[in-house]
């Protein structure tokens, strides 16, 4: 039972490392951006896992219900804003990739490096 309660952390570790692996070993820049998104989502999962309280509910106060237990609102606030910032930075990364493709004609990073070395 105690072990099942740690499952979220294991998934966090695995997702984080899947993202990092793809970031290191994939050559395609669009794929790298997706890997970064997976890496980022893993961190979100970690924060939200920490916010949960047993027997709790979403932190919205209902009138007339006494002694409610709430999950921790603070990690939720941080992650809520982080998701929107995440999409903006992903879009920025993607814009850079599009510009690179227009200049180099490829989005594979080894080919781009090779072209840079030649010139």
């Amino acid at each position: 039972m105690k072990l099942l309660g740690l499952f979220n952390y294991w998934v966090f570790a695995v997702l984080l490392m899947i993202g990092l692996y793809a970031l290191i070993s994939k050559k395609n820049l669009v794929k790298k951006i997706m890997a970064l998104a997976i890496f980022q989502s893993a961190v979100f999962l970690f924060f939200i896992t920490m916010s949960r309280v047993d027997g709790g509910t979403a932190p919205i106060i209902q009138a007339g219900v006494p002694d409610q237990i709430f999950s921790n609102p603070l990690p939720q606030v941080l992650i809520l804003t982080a998701i929107v910032v995440g999409i903006s930075t992903t879009a920025l990364g993607l814009a850079i990739v599009v510009r690179l493709y227009e200049e180099y004609g490829t989005v594979e990073d080894d080919e781009i490096l090779a072209m840079d070395r030649e010139s």
Binding site: M17, A22, I24, M50, R52, I61, G86, I87, Y101
Partner: protein, 325 residues
């Protein structure tokens, strides 16, 4: 117990989807899978009692992010170059780090432990003081816009900065924010009957729901970030079905730029108004004679600012990608 098992099932699906995203050589299917990944993530957030975060992830991750990646893919090659991706050293390092992190997890408090350190610090104070100091039901909104208003101001400016960056990289220069506008009239999907009819039925409700999420965010899950993303999803659907040109006629580029900057400006001026009325930067209590009413005014105005900036920036980014040849 049931919730825990559903959670484990969803998390396992999440890992499978992530592996599939990394393995797939066809980037188009990888993008579709990443939409599924976000949707599963939103379900997990919902199970973990984070309704606001789930709403954001569903709107932003599964909706807007997928469309942006597709728009980016339209401009770059749709498949990955084959082979030579597996490197022994990186596999070893990643495997070792994963095992280390799993080993470290045994020192973590279990899921939902009420005595966990994260539950002991400032969170009880926020939960206890929100009804007294701010008096709105949604504690997440209260923390986001009042207690931690500085953070949120910073985030809004990060979003604005990212938007400016994309416009610099992909925009068409001064007076012509999106490259292709007049030269190219796109029909969108208007030749397809079913998407056209469905979209016509859905769009008004999506926009109405966005407004509801915006202005009801103090009482239910929601707020400027989610509302902005949902509104953008509605307009994107419109431009997919009716074509770029019409969507840009509905909200012209000039208006979008003003919305992006104006929202952040509105947020900042609420802070300055606090100083002018004799308080601190972003102190809403001084905005009205009754401190609690002041908080309400401040929160509604800054949420409006957040909503405007998020809508403006995300739509500008979408058009910047979609209007490029």
């Amino acid at each position: 117990m049931t919730t825990l098992l559903i959670g484990i099932f969803l998390l396992s699906l999440l890992v499978i989807t992530a592996v599939a995203i990394v393995r797939s050589e066809d980037l188009f299917s990888a993008v579709m899978l990443s939409g599924i990944f976000s949707l599963l993530m939103a379900l997990n957030f919902f199970l973990l009692d984070a309704a606001d975060v789930a709403l954001t992830e569903a709107a932003v991750g599964a909706g807007v992010a997928t469309v942006l990646l597709l728009a980016g893919l339209k401009l770059t090659p749709p498949t990955e170059a084959r082979g030579r991706s597996l490197r022994k050293l990186s596999v070893v390092v990643i495997a070792a780090t994963t095992l280390l992190m799993i080993y470290a997890s045994f020192g973590q408090p279990t899921l939902g432990d009420p005595m966990a350190p994260a539950q002991q610090h400032v969170a009880p104070w926020y939960i206890e003081k929100t009804p007294e100091l701010i008096d709105i039901p949604n504690i997440v909104t209260a923390v986001l816009s009042s207690f931690r208003g500085y953070d949120t101001l910073g985030e809004v400016f990060v979003v604005l900065t990212a938007g400016i960056g994309v416009m610099f990289l992909l925009g068409g220069g001064r007076g012509k924010p999106f490259s292709r506008l007049d030269s190219h009239v796109e029909e969108g999907l208007s030749g397809h009957l079913i998407p056209k009819v469905m979209a016509r039925l859905l769009i008004p409700f999506i926009l109405l729901f966005a407004l509801f999420v915006q202005f009801h965010g103090e009482y239910s899950p929601g707020g400027g970030f989610q509302a902005g993303a949902i509104f953008v999803a509605g307009i994107i659907l419109y431009s997919l079905v009716r074509g770029e040109g019409l969507a840009l006629a509905v909200i012209p580029p000039r208006v979008l730029l003003w919305m992006s900057a104006g929202g952040a400006l509105l947020y900042g001026s609420v802070g300055l108004a606090g100083i002018l009325m004799g308080g601190q930067f972003l102190e809403y209590s001084v905005l009205s004679e009754n401190p609690v009413t002041g908080q309400h005014i401040g929160i509604i105005v800054i949420e409006l600012g957040v909503g405007l900036t998020v809508t403006g920036v995300l739509l500008s980014i979408f058009h910047a990608f979609a209007a490029r040849d």
